[in-house]
């Protein structure tokens, strides 16, 4: 046995582990902390035990946010294989509350600003012009049994409450998960769909979703104010950009009024019904041209299988609410519902 060489190898093994831990510890202590919105599921890794699988909003990047070489990858008509695992950089815009929003994805490292580095995921989804990215922060390891509890919480007492992850970023884009927290509000969506018409044989086509009931609940231990008219229809970005556009996007936003304000005590909920046959819940098909591009009520889109939407609670920014009573109690985050298809499917 060559003792010196063996000692050197043993020290190198310890050194590799110390470097791995030290690098992450340094980023966790000194990096810029941003908050990312997630939707968890709970798998199990035989080598590392239970973990909560974190799927970020920015995990699927639409074509409109792709830059430089990434756009060319999307245009490549071959399968995604040549681009798997390629290094990419996601630039982020961080708001006053620390929430980060994706503003672009490039294969070139940004010169500055806040960004996180990732890799093109193995399950690339290019057919609809979006790309799936893995940032190396998709797992939150927990003690055995805790992942199931978290998932049960998400389905039960914390139904509709988004989980946010605090992530520390180093200047090179390396991300380290620091922890997670639940938002104070939860949004639960229940769709309404009439049964199929049975007067004909075979039964006629079943109508699509005609409306939805939304329940906003205060899950925190303090009162929270909400704006009762701040719901909007958005495309489900996890399915790509989509070609339907809500008519409300183009409408001017009305000024905030105290009558819109509602104070929710801890555990209290606010219930609202949306009628999708009404014109304010219409969408236009951006794939159509000219006269064909007329608004269609959401309830009449039963055959649009490629459409996927969410209802989002998006109150006005804090600057617009300063004149309102108890303005400090208003929660200003965004709260998307589960995704649904006008033909009846709900994620």
């Amino acid at each position: 046995m060559k003792m010196k060489l063996a000692v050197a190898v043993a020290l190198a093994q310890v050194g590799v582990l110390a470097f791995m831990a030290g690098q992450r510890e340094w980023v966790a202590r000194t990096g810029r902390v941003v908050t990312l919105r997630t939707a968890p599921i709970d798998p199990n890794d035989p080598m590392r035990g239970e973990y909560v699988k974190l799927n970020y909003e920015m995990s699927v990047v639409p074509r409109s946010l792709c830059r430089d070489g990434v756009t060319a990858w999307l245009d490549d008509k071959r399968t995604a294989t040549p681009y798997l695992d390629r290094r990419v950089y996601a630039t982020l815009d961080v708001d006053a509350n620390g929430f980060a929003e994706l503003t672009g994805l490039s294969d070139l490292q940004p010169k500055g600003g806040t960004y996180v580095r990732g890799r093109v995921d193995s399950s690339v989804w290019q057919s609809n012009g979006s790309i799936r990215v893995r940032y190396g922060i998709e797992a939150l390891f927990v003690e055995e049994g805790a992942a199931k509890k978290l998932e049960d919480q998400r389905r039960g007492e914390k139904a509709g409450v988004p989980m946010d992850v605090d992530v520390a970023l180093d200047p090179g884009g390396l991300a380290v998960v620091k922890g997670y927290h639940w938002e104070p509000l939860g949004l639960v969506l229940t769709t309404e769909r009439p049964p199929p018409v049975r007067r004909t044989v075979p039964a006629g086509p079943r109508p699509g979703i005609q409306g939805a009931t939304l329940v906003l609940k205060n899950h925190s231990d303090r009162p929270v104010s909400i704006m009762t008219s701040s719901f909007r229809l958005i495309n489900n970005r996890l399915r790509g950009e989509g070609h339907f556009r809500w008519v409300g996007e183009d409408a001017a936003r009305s000024a905030v009024a105290p009558s819109d304000l509602r104070l929710l005590q801890p555990g209290e909920e606010f219930r609202v019904h949306l009628d999708f046959s009404r014109p304010e819940w219409s969408v236009t098909d951006t794939n159509k041209k000219g006269d064909e591009r007329l608004p269609v009520a959401l309830g009449a889109l039963a055959n649009a299988w490629d459409a996927s939407f969410r209802i989002e609670y998006a109150p006005p920014p804090a600057a617009e609410c300063t004149s309102l009573p108890d303005a400090g109690l208003i929660w200003h985050g965004r709260l998307p519902s589960r995704a649904f298809n006008p033909s009846g499917g709900v994620d």
């Binding site: 003792m3 093994q13 035989p46 399968t79």
Partner: protein
């Protein structure tokens, strides 16, 4: 003590009591085969190393529980301390004599296993969900470095398994072709296996290289490239085994190489001995391969390197045997390079696709080329060579293996032969007659040997 030595020592006692040799002569013979005092007990090394590996796996699972009661730095201190302690214990024990020295190997294996556990523990503590095959690569390199530093077969086996897992996970999970895996296993571990003259390690290296070759071949160009790569590797191993044949010190390694070479060669030839064999072997078109050109060229380079090396080794072997006056011994072995050259360069192989003939030939309802006839002949040639050689040199194992290959090929053709039961029956009668004749030939040669031992 080896099985043969144990047998020899027990026989010596019998020879003394029978008056065949004197006690002094017996002592002289025993002295020739006595093992050195510091010799390692392989039983202890193997079992303690397996035990250490299992303890290491247990530690991985224990850490996987992820106790929140243990603070982050407590977990890190535990794992770093465990790696350092296991290696320090192993290295110090290696400097001592007796059982402690034998324990050294196991402690170092434990250290490497805990090192691997540490990679995943750090990932767990810091919620790292990055490119996971990199963890196997780092772990495998750590094991390989330790294997070289303490010249350890168990460490090298751990490294071989980890590097194979690394390659497989890169390929299957991320569709990334890792040509470095061939270099690391072939040269990194293979060179150590040659240096240590370890047949067990050689077997692991060859099993790993076989898997990696099939993985890469399939990935680069489907079944055809996998088949050609495997065929060339098999022929290379047969040649290497023959070249090592004269050295008694590498007898175990020669056996392993010959086993992997002959088994690979026969399996590959057998696959192509079916009329539909060519359908499974469509040549890839470069423009359809979903990879960058550099990776494709490296993959092609590996294939041509194997081909060239296999043929070069056979040329070297033939030259050596001709110089030694054993030209006749080469004739049987020439089947391997000839079949390899045929598979790559024959008219049927290159233009077979354009020369397909509509079936049903011999019960096969489809198009076929003449290749399957050639590969049937290759299988039969190997079988006959083994049978003749086995009989001539009194090698019963080779004789039986040759007969088995012959029987398997004939049985496989049962379904391909013309529908007449009479024809099939005649073929089986002929096979039985050949095997009978072989038995008589073997017995006759043995009897002649006993009459004239020269």
């Amino acid at each position: 003590m080896s099985k043969r030595t144990r047998w020899l020592f027990s026989e010596i006692d019998r020879w003394i009591s029978g008056g065949v040799i004197s006690r002094e002569q017996a002592s002289s013979i025993r002295a020739l085969y006595e093992e050195p005092p510091g010799a390692v007990s392989w039983g202890l090394v193997v079992f303690s190393s397996i035990g250490a590996a299992i303890v290491g796996l247990g530690i991985i699972l224990l850490f996987a529980y992820n106790w929140h009661a243990i603070p982050k730095f407590g977990k890190l201190a535990l794992i770093l301390g465990a790696v350092a302690a296991a290696h320090a214990g192993g290295i110090l024990a290696g400097q001592r004599e007796g059982w402690r020295r034998q324990l050294s190997e196991a402690l170092c294996v434990l250290g490497t296993m805990v090192f691997g556990a540490g990679i995943w523990l750090v990932a767990q503590v810091y919620n790292i969900d990055e490119h996971f095959p990199a963890g196997f690569l780092i772990w495998g390199l750590g094991a390989l470095a330790m294997a070289w530093s303490i010249r350890s077969v168990p460490q090298a086996i751990v490294a071989t398994i980890l590097l194979t897992v690394w390659d497989g996970s890169e390929l299957f999970k991320f569709q990334t072709s890792m040509n470095w895996a061939l270099v690391l296993v072939g040269f990194g571990v293979g060179a150590l296996a040659l240096r240590l003259r370890s047949a067990v390690l050689t077997a692991f290296v060859l099993a790993s290289l076989t898997l990696i070759t099939i993985f890469h071949g399939s990935f680069m160009g489907g079944s055809y490239v996998a088949w050609v790569d495997m065929y060339a590797l098999s022929v290379l191993l047969v040649a290497a085994g023959c070249l090592l044949g004269d050295r008694a010190t590498t007898e175990g390694q020669r056996g392993v190489m010959t086993f992997f070479g002959c088994a690979g060669f026969l399996v590959c030839s057998y696959i192509r001995s079916f009329p539909f064999g060519d359908d499974m072997m469509s040549r890839p078109r470069l423009e359809t391969i979903q990879m960058d050109r550099w990776t494709v060229w490296l993959g092609s380079g590996y294939r041509w390197l194997l081909l060239a090396a296999a043929i070069a080794l056979f040329i070297a072997l033939t030259v050596r045997r001709v110089r030694a006056g054993r030209a006749l011994a080469t004739i049987g072995d020439l089947i391997y390079p000839i079949a390899l050259i045929y598979s790559e360069f024959s008219w049927e192989s290159i233009f077979g696709a354009q020369r397909r003939i509509q079936g049903p030939p011999y019960g096969y309802d489809g198009q076929y080329t003449g290749n399957f006839i050639a590969f049937n002949l290759v299988c039969l040639a190997v079988a006959v060579t083994w049978m003749v050689r086995g009989c001539r040199f009194g090698n019963l194992r080779q004789t039986v293996l040759g007969s088995l290959v012959l029987a398997v090929v004939i049985m496989a053709r049962f379904h391909d032969l013309p529908g007449s039961l009479a024809t099939r029956g005649l073929v089986f009668v002929a096979l039985g007659a050949v095997l009978f004749a072989e038995g008589f030939y073997y017995r006759k040669l043995r009897a002649r040997e006993q009459e004239d031992p020269r």
